[in-house]
């Protein structure tokens, strides 16, 4: 640095120095080379140093040691003839550093040559601090708005010009940040608009509304809007409205869901007629809803444990307490207990209540129970129905036993009746017949022919009565005993029976066809008897036909498999069909076809015993078909229906 003028030498000719000295800020001058040749009073006051110490490089040496690097740049600036500025920390008179803004400008003569540098230095520490503080606050605000996703906006009235920040723009799904002539009624849900418009401000003059705003995709989103008006226009309306926006859709949806759930629970509880209660175990208080109160026969919404237990019918109390203890404290689960007890109501009626308790333990993992929530239900009706069913079952069981015993007795009676018939009816018959024979044998020669004729009538009558007794015995024997369930081949039974009939009457010309492998499940002895009766009939009633034909086959009728025995014999008139299966009923005279009328009755008894059905169809001189069903599998027959059998 040049040192052409003495320091602090205030030249009287240079009046500028005097006025600089009076400036309220630090000011100084420097030679074109940058050498400080004058400092004003403020510089001395700021630094607390005498003027002479500040000349030359004195001012620069007050800079903070960390800012010394700046001096290089400043020196470089002095080589150019342009104003410049810089900020640096300067040591104050108290040793503290303050941020100072220094501005330096060149002074040129009329020829444009550099004469001097003039510099001012301003203590900007307080200003900087205020700015920093403001910036910090702004940052905090931004952080708060950002983290809460709160947007801000302002609306000018009456022009409705809306200005929004990015967040509000997103909340309201606006295309731009500035909207001229904003029309909120177009975007706010009609149901919410009227409500929002008629808001009353709070004590601070602020409005808070929640309304749905339509987005461009047509979907409404819930917004919480806080706002207030400023100024007052000619129409009494504010001239400016400022506010915030916040998207509260998730909260609103959660609220709506909670409300919906609550509604559903209320409906469910009401439909199931469930009462609810909760219990704070620490306080020992039970809170009962209206239905639980009704179930417990009390009108108190809050009861102590003891009061609650007192509602339980006294004979059920001990058991109820024991059950709750056992289920909640003695079992491993400790979360749920179900109890049933009676409650005596005001009118003296005992009603059954079922209750389920859910226990929750504290979050600290200890095994205390801190809270109980439960439901109650009146189960009187189902209890009564249950008791009724039990009574009915017992009654039914007793009746079944009684009926079975009666039936067994009746069957035994029938058996012994048949036995008695076989013996007691035969003896007098034998006597009638025998003594007629004795009379003829011993005294026949003394009797006239007419007497012989009468005696023969007695003998014929006896013989017929004997046949009837035989028939009755056959009928009663046909289904006596236990019913066996074996596969029975009806085809081979038919073949055997027809061959035997042909052996007995070799002169008869009968053609027969038998479908092979007709198998039923049943008692082979009985089915054999039934088949022989049917085939015997077919054989007998085709006696008058030259082209006698007998067919044995199976067929489906109404989806049900039936066995058929068909002949082309004398047939019968369907008008008398109901007599077919009645014992001793006949559709032909003895001189047409002899017989007792016991065969088809036997067949029917056997088929019925197997749970099957039998029917006969026919027409006079056009033959007859007897169809019958039998079990086709080894399963127990129910309702007489049989499983289908593939043929």
């Amino acid at each position: 640095m040049a040192n052409e003028t003495p320091p602090n030498a205030l030249s009287p000719a240079d009046g500028a120095h005097l006025s600089i000295d009076l400036l309220p800020t630090m000011a100084w001058t420097a030679t074109p080379a940058g050498h400080v040749d004058f400092v004003n009073q403020q510089c001395c006051a700021f630094t607390g140093l005498p003027r002479e110490q500040l000349l030359g490089t004195g001012m620069a040496e007050c800079m903070h040691p960390d800012d010394q690097a700046l001096r290089q740049k400043i020196r470089a600036q002095f080589t150019e003839m342009r104003p410049f500025e810089y900020e640096s920390r300067m040591r104050r008179h108290d040793g503290e550093y303050a941020r100072c803004l220094t501005r330096i400008a060149p002074v040129l003569d009329s020829a444009g040559s550099l004469v001097k540098w003039i510099g001012t230095t301003v203590d900007v520490e307080n200003m900087r601090r205020a700015t920093d503080e403001a910036r910090l606050q702004e940052e905090h605000l931004q952080l708060a708005l950002e983290s809460a996703d709160v947007g801000i906006w302002r609306l000018k009235l009456p022009s409705y010009d809306l200005t929004v920040d990015e967040r509000t723009r997103r909340h309201l799904d606006l295309e731009r940040n500035e909207i001229i002539g904003y029309r909120p009624q177009d975007l706010i849900h009609p149901q919410d608009f009227a409500r929002s418009a008629s808001q009353i401000p709070d004590a601070n003059g602020r409005f808070v509304t929640e309304h749905r705003v339509k987005h461009r995709d047509g979907v409404y989103r819930w917004q919480a809007i806080h706002w207030r008006g400023w100024g007052e226009g000619d129409d009494g309306m504010p001239t400016l409205i400022t506010g915030t926006s916040m998207d509260v859709t998730p909260r609103k949806e959660a609220e709506a869901e909670a409300e919906e759930l609550g509604h559903r629970y209320r409906i469910a509880l009401s439909a199931a007629e469930l009462g609810t209660f909760s219990c704070d175990a620490e306080q020992g208080l039970m809170h009962l809803d209206e239905r639980t109160r009704a179930h417990l026969g009390t009108n108190q919404p809050v009861l102590t444990f003891e009061q609650c237990l007192a509602c339980v019918y006294e004979l059920d109390r001990e058991r109820t307490v024991r059950e709750v203890r056992r289920q909640l404290f003695e079992s491993g689960q400790r979360t749920k207990a179900t109890i049933e007890f009676r409650v005596r109501h005001g009118d003296g009626e005992l009603r059954w209540v079922s209750s389920q308790l859910h226990a929750s333990a504290p979050e600290d993992g200890s095994d205390r129970i801190v809270r109980l929530i439960g439901v109650t239900r009146d189960i009187t009706e189902s209890k009564r129905a249950e008791e009724k069913v039990q009574r009915l079952n017992v009654d039914l069981e007793r009746r079944v036993q009684q009926r079975t015993a009666e039936l067994t007795a009746a069957n035994q009676e029938l058996e012994s009746f048949a036995y008695a018939v076989s013996h007691d009816l035969r003896a007098p018959l034998r006597a009638m017949w025998g003594f007629c024979d004795a009379l003829i044998e011993d005294y026949g020669h003394t009797l006239p022919d007419e007497a012989h004729g009468y005696l023969q009538q007695v003998i014929d009558g006896s013989r017929h009565l004997g046949e009837i007794i035989e028939g009755l015995l056959t009928l009663s024997r046909s289904t006596r005993g236990t019913l066996r369930r074996d596969p029975v081949d009806l085809s081979s039974i038919a073949a055997k029976a027809l061959n035997e009939l042909a052996l007995v009457e070799p002169d008869r010309q009968v053609t027969w066809t038998i479908q092979p492998a007709l198998v039923a499940y049943g008692d082979s002895r009985m089915i054999d008897a039934a088949m022989r009766n049917l085939l015997g009939n077919a054989w007998k009633y085709t006696a008058n036909r030259r082209d006698a034909t007998i067919r044995v086959y199976g067929e489906h009728i109404d989806g049900k498999f039936v066995f058929c025995v068909e002949d082309n014999g004398a047939g019968f008139n369907m008008e008398h069909a109901e007599k077919l299966f009645q014992p001793f009923q006949r559709l032909h005279r003895q001189d047409e076809f002899s017989g007792l009328g016991i065969g088809l009755a036997t067949v029917q008894r056997i088929i019925h015993r197997h749970g099957g059905q039998v029917c006969g169809t026919g027409a006079p001189d056009q033959g007859a078909v007897f169809r019958f069903s039998l079990p086709l599998s080894n399963e127990v027959v129910t309702n007489g229906t049989e499983q289908e059998r593939e043929t």
């Binding site: 035969r426 034998r430 006597a431 017949w433 025998g434």
Partner: protein
Amino acid sequence: MTKRTVLLVEDNPQDELLILRALRKANVPAAIDVVRDGQQAVDYLFRTGEYSQRTEQLPSLVLLDINLPKLSGFDVLKRMRAEPNTQLLPVVMFTSSDEDDDRLRAYSSGANSFVSKPLEFAEFIASAGVLGTYWLSTNTPP
């Protein structure tokens, strides 16, 4: 030759007459003693009750009905087979029954034969004749 005796146990007087006549017609070579119920039959065979004074020997054949007053034919048969004296005495169940059950029970109780009384008198005579001839003449007692 010792006179043979047949014991007829029959409660029906008409059957009794018919059987006696049939045995007579068939020339069965024996005297016929008749008792009319099971108790009498037992007394007769074991010389008890009203027959305690009976001194004659045991019959050679017993024609025993099943349905009898007091003791049934099966009861009588059981008693006979339990006593050494009567254990081997031929017994023919001559009865109205032709039930399989009765037949089976008769044979398993120790009857020597089971014959159903026929309804027709001619058959009756034939049966009685066969019985008398077979059991009194043909059959060799053990």
